[in-house]
Symmetry: C2
Subunit: 358 residues, 2 copies
DNA sequence: AAAAATAATGCAAACGATTGCTGCAAACGA
DNA sequence: TCGTTTGCAGCAATCGTTTGCATTATTTTT
């Protein structure tokens, strides 16, 4: 039953290819190919004979030849601009694993300081990935057009583009802002402030909108807003300094991201000697791992990363098999995670049990 | 001077390829190819005529066809196991940019929880990258063999393998351990301890060796060692708890990485009410960005990331052009970064000015 | 037992480039 | 003037697959 004709195994030079297998096993190259193709017509016995022998030789079909002939690469590119924000490594890892399980390869492109994702897109496209996931806050609307011309589908992760009909997956940022506003108000805060991230990022805008709208609904008509200009620790730190020099000082600060919140808290403590949450409540949005560290114990609204990733992969799969998904946009709700950076509720009450609009 | 014959630009269907250009411009496919190949023999004028027209059509040579025929992919795979340790995103970003500048594409593979880099290697290899960078603490020695069989070169980043002759790039971990020991001793600490990371990682071992040896050299013969079992915040936290229940308590703790150190500090403060550095000095190794945050202000030994990355890229380039580099190993020294998590020096003295072995 | 249907395999044409070799002008040297 | 060199471009083979169609072997139907 040994499929290997004696003495042929250790032929010299050359990488092993289908032709080599074919000769050794006395079948055609087509048959070799079919053995590796799940739903090709081939005798069960032939297939296993081939697969066994291939295994023995360590043969795998050449992906470049495959891509060339099938016009599919099973590659998805990913453009990441801010790996220094811990949310992104977490998202990147999740996407990487989910895509791998679905049989995709991930090509990584980081955006160097001073450049925009738009600058990197042509490069990302040059390897002809079937999809490019843009995990970056700011992209121009032209990106869509550039990608399209190269036959690559664009997917935004954690951002949406109001102007275009590009696929996107985000969490319900406005809902998050609203939940945090509720929590602040429920715990007795009255002078609410917001620290923004990149000015024209959809995340900055939506979180602000949800936050402010809920405040107004509940009768707090002026909410302060301080620009952070980016999603970073330093941004939070310096924005907090500007914010706390205003009078009267806010008693609750919602930061456009967790990492901003950590910078903010640090500034409150070291620069102003303020206690969190006794003097000021601080909340973020993302629920990065660090937020749960005892030293931070940050109240936040969690991005439903798992479900966002699941949605992204499903989107890719669907488009890939041609079932041009009707659903262009996925917006997924997260949950508020109450920790110790915000004042506790008056008594046993829980935010979730309060009516939406009292 | 318009190289585009009228009316041919908007031909229907089909991606544009060299053949299309050739027909439109009335040259052969070979010539098209040569126009894109820096050092091919071709008339200057012909080249620019082709390049201009290609640009107009948005044509780029198909990378799969190129890889197929040239047997080179210009792809390097990277296996990362612990993105949750902030050192790795920082390294990843740096490598990504440096490789991009050198004209390489980066394929990312993360190691899922419960699996080892060895499990992922076959997958990483399956796309036939020319190199695979392993940025993970533990890899078996068999990996080298597996890669070799597939014609892929392996490069370890931030780890070395004593058993094999695989290329590797690391910082001088033993030197780092030594510097930290010096600093502790110079600032008057006498009961020194070490919190380890993964038990059999070369980083854990080398840092320990450098630390302990220097302690012994300077007359402190027993140095405590507490196992952390991994490079993480939680590991630091729980190891610190075990460590501080010993008597007498150490007055200085060197952690195998910054992230361990942060967990350690947290435990000291919240679980034992100890002050850092008044009661206990704590130092790490890596110099991740967070270490500089005011709330942490961690003394540490910096990994010379820029130079490590530079070395890695140079290694790749050299091997790639066949100048089989003699230098298989790069070990680069970093610097000690003194911040506020360790006691200050008695007076104006600076560690660097003290003799190596007083 | 012959005809028809079915199952398994082989043939050969793609996919889109690269590159050694050949051919042809024009330029050069004697 | 003729032979030789040089510069440029084209021919055709090649890389390693996939896949529609033709072909053969096997089974089922009548």
């Amino acid at each position: 039953m040994d499929p290997k004709p004696a003495g042929k195994t250790d032929r010299p030079g050359k990488r092993i290819n289908a032709k080599r297998l074919a000769e050794d096993l006395d079948v055609s190259i087509s048959t070799i190919s079919r053995a590796f193709n799940k739903d090709a017509v081939i005798a069960q016995e032939t297939r296993s004979r081939i697969l066994d022998y291939a295994d023995q030789l360590g043969y795998r079909p050449n992906p470049y030849a495959q891509s060339l002939i099938t016009q599919k690469s099973r590659i998805v590119g990913i453009i990441v601009s801010h790996l220094e924000n811990p949310f992104y490594p977490e998202a990147l890892r999740g996407l990487s694993e989910a895509l791998r399980e679905a049989g995709w390869h991930l090509m990584l492109f980081t955006v160097p300081f001073g450049k925009t994702p738009d600058d990197i897109l042509p490069l990302a496209i040059s390897y002809q990935p079937e999809f490019v996931i843009v995990m970056a806050v700011t992209v121009s609307s032209r990106a869509q057009e550039v990608a399209e011309r190269a036959g690559t589908k664009l997917i935004y992760f954690n951002r949406r583009d109001p102007d275009s009909s590009t696929f996107y997956v985000i969490c319900d940022n406005a809902h998050g802002g609203g939940m945090i506003a509720d929590h602040f108000i429920d715990t007795g805060c009255r002078r609410l402030a917001y620290i923004a991230g990149f000015q024209n990022a959809s995340t900055t805008l939506d979180r602000w909108r949800g936050f402010r709208d809920r405040c107004i609904e509940r009768g707090l008509s002026d909410v302060w807003r301080e620009e952070g200009y980016s999603f970073s620790y330093e941004a939070g730190y310096s924005a907090a300094m500007r914010l706390m020099n205003r009078r009267p000082r806010p008693d609750a600060v919602f930061c456009a991201s967790d990492i901003i919140a950590l910078g903010c808290i640090e500034a409150l403590r070291t620069e102003f000697g303020l206690r969190v949450p006794e003097d000021v409540s601080v909340a973020g949005l993302d629920n990065i791992e660090m937020a749960a560290w005892p030293s931070h114990s940050l109240t936040t609204y969690s991005q439903p990363l798992d479900r966002m990733i699941e949605a992204t992969v499903r989107l890719i799969e669907e488009i890939s098999i041609g079932a041009e998904s009707e659903k262009v946009a996925w917006q997924i709700k997260g949950d508020i995670i109450v920790r110790k950076s915000t004042r506790p509720l008056p008594d046993g009450k829980d935010t979730a049990t309060l009516p939406d609009k009292p």
